[in-house]
Symmetry: C2
Subunit: 135 residues, 2 copies
DNA sequence: TTATTTTTTGCAACATTATTGCATTTAGAC
DNA sequence: GTCTAAATGCAATAATGTTGCAAAAAATAA
């Protein structure tokens, strides 16, 4: 699906920042940091606009962010199939790569009395195949 | 266990910053942010020293941090019983309270081929009992 | 005890990530 | 093409965290 289509589907204005972010993230096929996105965007770049665009795209559940250890944030497209379902994320300690594990639904945890949940985040840290074969 | 004892056990110097952080976190009985810790510390406060003290205490697995949505970080004592075991954390969307769910071990996830894991973080977001009874 | 070495501290500077206010521009509806 | 609500760009500000370095404190050696 193309950026313009996605924006139309959600009745969002087609602005260059929104289209640019989507374009880059779709092409990458994996979660990217703000800097990685910026590096792949042509022309001038405004951080405020990025954050506001992200907020909009997030509210429409088009992209989501993955926070690793505060100070590393990656942005990723929602897989249109699993979409709303909570899924786990993988983080490679060696190369900082983040991967959406769309096929791995998160476990439903039994909370203590009185607590109720509505979202669960799971981040699995380890080594990715690429880094493992680097010895 | 008292701060001084803990530091002695780990053969760490008893400095006022380390003792202060431990004192405050032990008294609170729940994870606190840097600001919440600072507010409960007497005398002058240096952020650099806080971060360096935290690093030391973390390396000795005395306290650990919980990152909620980057921009909210809470620091908590390690439960001496479950200690090294990965445990889930609860975050209240209403009051920002964080709770260590020491009794809830994290599930072992089956990763795709070639990936290996060595640590898993689970954050369950929802409403705490106090906030639920506030209608 | 005194001297030497190591660790910790406090401060300034800097980096990164993120938010707000406001004037200007633009996309899309008419 | 005109109009208007929405989005943008820029400056200012905030929160969180790190680094270098000289001074202070603690541990160790003599
Ligand atoms: Mn994902
Ligand atoms: Mn915990
Ligand atoms: Zn890797
Ligand atoms: Zn609450």
């Amino acid at each position: 699906m193309k950026p313009a289509e996605i924006l139309n589907t959600h009745k969002l204005k087609r602005t260059s920042c929104r289209e640019g972010i989507l374009e880059v993230v779709i092409n990458a096929g994996q979660p990217l940091s703000e800097n990685e996105i910026r590096e792949n965007l042509p022309g001038n770049y405004d951080r405020t606009t990025f954050y506001r665009s992200f907020k909009t795209l997030e509210e429409h559940q088009i992209i989501h962010k993955i926070v690793i250890d505060n100070q590393l944030v990656k942005y990723a497209l929602h897989n249109s199939i699993t979409h709303k379902q909570d899924h786990a994320h993988f983080y490679c300690n060696d190369c900082d790569m983040v991967k959406c594990l769309d096929d791995i639904p998160v476990q439903k945890y039994q909370l203590p009395d009185g607590f109720s949940d509505n979202e669960t985040e799971v981040i699995i840290k380890g080594t990715c195949p690429k880094c493992k074969n680097k010895d």
